[in-house]
């Protein structure tokens, strides 16, 4: 056991957790933010993607301990109060989600992708989402959503 402190959606969270606690379990079980999902055990599905110091990370691939002192944003921290993030808006407007389970990871991956490359192309979007599995949408509308989100975030494509 050991104490872990990190910043989660702007708020300092300190918990005493076992050394082998995954970051995703720290977020879900210890802090109680359940928007970050667990869809597989092999770091394949991307339902648990969060931002760690601005970089998208599968929260099931790292230990909470490795995130000591980090600045973490989860899906719950993306909107500005009641105002959705442009990427969240784009998913809503383009029907980029159905059951919603993969959605938090999709949106977090998309935001990072577009932040790094605002003029992102369709091929780049499809390749960039390779680590996020969706079983409902066939990705068509997710790709449209990311394109629209990129435009809202200042992209030209």
């Amino acid at each position: 056991m050991g104490e872990i402190s990190l910043k989660l959606n702007g708020k300092l969270e300190t918990r005493d957790v076992a050394d082998n606690t995954l970051l995703v379990d720290f977020i879900r079980e210890h802090v109680g933010l359940t928007g970050t999902h667990v869809g597989c055990d092999t770091s394949q599905c991307g339902a648990c993607v969060i931002h760690l110091d601005g970089v998208s990370v599968k929260a099931c691939t790292i230990l909470a301990k490795q995130a000591e002192g980090a600045d973490i944003t989860t899906i719950e921290g993306l909107a500005d109060g009641d105002a959705l993030h442009p990427m969240q808006e784009a998913f809503h407007e383009n029907h980029g989600l159905q059951c919603g389970f993969c959605t938090p990871g999709m949106v977090m991956s998309a935001v990072e992708m577009v932040t790094k490359n605002k003029d992102i192309s369709e091929d780049e979007i499809r390749e960039g989402l390779e680590g996020n599995i969706c079983r409902c949408t066939g990705y068509h509308n997710i790709v449209q959503s990311v394109k629209a989100g990129a435009a809202k975030m200042g992209g030209k494509n």
Partner: protein
């Protein structure tokens, strides 16, 4: 297309009202819910496929840190708790019944597949439960595993009750007439196709949280279910023998189902049982590997097809002999999927004068096989559309034209097929034409030639499918062996201010019911959609209903809502007549207002609602106050969506990789309530079909070990495996329901695999390739290319 009369009414692509919670991480899935004092369950599962259990030693597990309880099949048996039941059985050819072996919640004396649950360990944490389970010692006497379902009859007997490992041997159609038709045919096309085994893989793994309240001796179960009322019925009536009122089942937000969350699984039942046993809430969450091992799989057929043609290339007869794998135990709808949801679809869109089919359902030492998106209909469509393509090639006709001359003509509806179904309405040429136009079919050869210059093989493939959804009517279902009703329920409550609460027996796990159903109500009542809330998924709140599967939610559930709203309107007219001092017959209802015909006297819907709940000026002597109506709707027939999908692919001969370069889907779903949502359903279905055709394969080795038990080994379609899709529609409104709607949830998965495989074969046809099995992996395609070249060299 429908006339859209209202910005958020029927026919309008309203953005979904349920989105915001999912987009902000506020969705509440079962695993997001916890109860004070809960313990975690872990199931010890068999790691061998077929064995007698000689001894289970739980002693060390019981004293492990954090462990609260360890239970085995003996404990369940001592409490006389029943196992899962089969919801539909069929008669066999020899007059005997489907063999229904018992399915104990935890193994009793024998394990029958890798993943079969042997014991449950309850502990303070999930990790402690898992560590405790590792201390259980199971002494097996291994038996010969039965994996190859085609030869399962020769294998070791899995259940005492199932001789030759054959659950049923069923037939449909006229065998003699079909034999006569085939013997008189000018040409017989023969084909053997395999429908590969798939894992549904809803992104949310199964989860259950059960709690027992000893004050009133009742249970609450949160679970990942497509149909909470059926779950409650099965648990209460067949497993625990308690009144339904003592069990509340809540299926909150559910992260996809695709069929896999229809049934009551043993884990849910064990959690309910154990919650009373240990007096604490019990939670179980599957990890992905457990999902692969224990969720019901789909498909897994082999079909031998014979199609007879006359001198004009018209079909004269069809015979299909099918063997299918149903796994270790009979799951709830496992029997109906390959029989009445498969054999009845064999006429497709074609006028076939004689059809006969025989289906053998086999037991194997693999996990149960049951419904997966399409459930029987993709298998029927695959074998038929592969055969149509093969036949067209063999007789030298364009595949589109060969289909066209065999379509059921537009003026032949209602059309009685030779396999029990009567199609109420359809018109097949328009969606073939439109799909061909969408994909620019007539310029395909130019594209093929251009691709050839780049060293690529380009191909095009067609699939014209029929679907039967909204399984009904109940009486027919019962006559065919179904043990449940197939109606749907709705309760529409008008609140005093005129807002509406709709309680539906359907369940949404991604389909957008909160939006679609609200559109129907808003449109019919002429009120804003935001005034309508849709409640589902809680047996304490919603009327008894059958849930969502088989693309039934709109056709059955939406129609029930529509009927309940009609009752609201009828009662409101009576109230309006009283308030307006007019005859009820003179009251018209339009745009949310009750108007006395030919006058300007009117009452808004909200005023009627208020009068119903504050009945100070109200015909109390003839009319009850309040405004709330129920409807139970039992459809008179299935609804029959149809369509044509055309796939275009390029094959890289250097790698064998098949790239899907274009896709045109033209579907007839009748009237559309929300085209945006429908299109999303089509996209998702196509993606699952492309997954089946190119990527996915659940593979057991000869020892019954599932080799594809994670996303590392089972190839799920990802964003860069798929193209964007062109989606279009034709419309023949269903005559079965007032809304004129059909169903759209499964169509994509039904239509797409044969279109894609036909395209791959077309691409490789210059090399002489005539067949390709699913999934058409790069290795398989590359090998087909190499083999064809070595044949050419000889």
């Amino acid at each position: 297309m429908n006339e859209v009369t209202k910005i958020d009414g029927i026919g309008s692509s309203v953005r979904r009202t349920e989105d915001k919670k999912f987009l902000t991480g506020k969705g509440k899935y079962t695993d997001d819910i916890n109860r004070p004092g809960q313990v975690q369950a872990y199931f010890l599962r068999s790691d061998v496929a077929h064995a007698k259990i000689k001894k289970i030693d739980i002693k060390n597990a019981q004293s492990a840190p954090g462990v609260v309880g360890v239970f085995t099949g003996d404990d369940i048996a001592a409490d006389k708790v029943g196992g899962p039941i089969c919801g539909w059985v069929v008669p066999c050819r020899d007059g005997s019944a489907t063999k229904e072996p018992p399915h104990p919640l935890l193994a009793q004396g024998k394990v029958r597949f890798v993943g079969d649950a042997i014991a449950v360990v309850l502990a303070e944490t999930a990790e402690q439960a898992k560590s405790g389970a590792e201390l259980i010692d199971v002494d097996y006497e291994e038996l010969s595993p039965v994996v190859d379902f085609e030869n399962a009859g020769d294998g070791a007997q899995i259940h005492d009750e199932v001789p030759n490992n054959c659950y049923f041997d069923w037939e449909l159609g006229d065998e003699k007439a079909t034999a006569d038709a085939l013997s008189g045919a000018k040409k017989i096309v023969k084909l053997r196709v395999r429908n590969n085994r798939l894992v549904p893989n809803a992104m949310e793994p199964r989860c259950a949280l059960a709690e027992f309240d000893n004050l009133d001796d009742s249970y609450t179960l949160h679970t990942t279910s497509q149909n909470p009322h059926l779950t409650r019925l099965v648990l209460a009536a067949f497993m625990f023998a308690i009144p339904e009122s003592k069990l509340r089942v809540i299926a909150p937000d559910v992260g996809g189902g695709f069929g896999s969350k229809i049934y009551v699984y043993i884990e849910e039942a064990v959690c309910v049982w154990a919650s009373k046993k240990v007096g604490r809430p019990v939670k179980w969450t599957a990890d992905r590997t457990q999902a692969f091992l224990t969720d019901c799989h789909g498909r897994d057929h082999v079909n031998d097809v014979q199609l007879g043609l006359d001198e004009n290339n018209k079909i004269v007869g069809l015979r299909v002999d099918t063997v299918c794998n149903l796994g270790a135990y009979l799951s709830a709808f496992s029997v109906v999927v390959p029989t009445y949801l498969h054999g009845t679809l064999l006429s497709g869109q074609y006028d076939i004068p004689a059809i006969y089919t025989n289906v053998k359902g086999m037991a194997t030492n693999t996990v149960n096989v049951d419904a997966y998106r399409g459930a029987g209909r993709p298998e029927a469509t695959y074998l038929l559309e592969r055969t149509m393509e093969t036949a067209a090639r063999e007789v030298g006709m364009d595949p589109a034209e060969f289909r066209r001359i065999n379509f059921i003509p537009k003026d032949a509806f209602p059309y009685q097929t030779q396999v029990a179904l009567q199609y109420d309405i359809g018109d097949y040429e328009p969606h073939l034409d439109k799909a061909m136009e969408m994909i620019d079919y007539f310029n395909f050869e130019k594209r093929r030639a251009e691709a050839a210059k780049r060293g690529m093989y380009r191909g095009i493939g067609i699939s014209s499918y029929i679907e039967a959804c909204g399984l009904a009517p109940s009486a027919v279902v019962g006559a065919l062996g179904g043990r449940v009703g197939q109606w749907e329920s709705a309760s529409v409550r008008v609140n005093p201010t005129g807002t509406i609460s709709v309680f539906t027996g359907s369940h949404s796990h991604g389909q957008g019911h909160a939006t679609t159903f609200a559109q129907i109500v808003a449109d019919k009542l002429g009120i804003p959609m935001e005034n309508v809330e849709v409640v589902h998924g809680d047996t304490d709140k919603t009327p008894f209903g059958m849930g969502s599967y088989g693309s039934r939610s709109l056709a059955s559930g939406g129609s029930a809502i529509s009927k309940a709203v009609d009752k609201i309107i009828n009662k409101s007219k009576k109230i309006a007549a009283h308030l307006l001092e007019a005859s009820e017959d003179d009251i018209d209802f339009k745009d949310g207002k009750f108007v006395v015909g030919g006058t300007d006297k009117e009452k808004a819907f909200g005023e009627i609602a208020l009068a119903a709940y504050v009945p100070h000026n109200y015909p109390l002597e003839t009319l009850e106050p309040g405004l709330e109506e129920n409807a139970f709707y039992d459809p008179t027939n299935f609804v029959y969506p149809s369509g044509t999908h055309i796939a275009e692919v390029e094959v890289d001969p250097a790698t064998g990789v098949v790239q899907v370069v274009d896709w045109a889907a033209c579907d007839d779903f009748g009237n559309l309530v929300n085209p945006m949502i429908v299109e999303g359903q089509v996209h998702g279905g196509i993606a699952q079909g492309i997954g089946q055709a190119l990527l996915e394969d659940a593979h057991y080795d000869e020892n019954g070990q599932l080799l594809t038990a994670s996303y590392m080994d089972y190839c799920m379609p990802r964003a860069d495996d798929l193209p964007s899709f062109k989606v279009g529609y034709t419309t023949t409104p269903s005559t079965v329901n007032d809304l004129g709607v059909k169903g759209c949830g499964e169509a994509g998965a039904i239509a797409s695999p044969p279109a894609l495989i036909n395209a791959v074969i077309d691409a490789l046809s210059p090399l002489g390739v005539t067949d390709m099995s699913m999934p058409a992996t790069p290795q398989k395609v590359w090998k087909a290319i190499q083999d064809s070249q070595s044949v050419a060299a000889e």
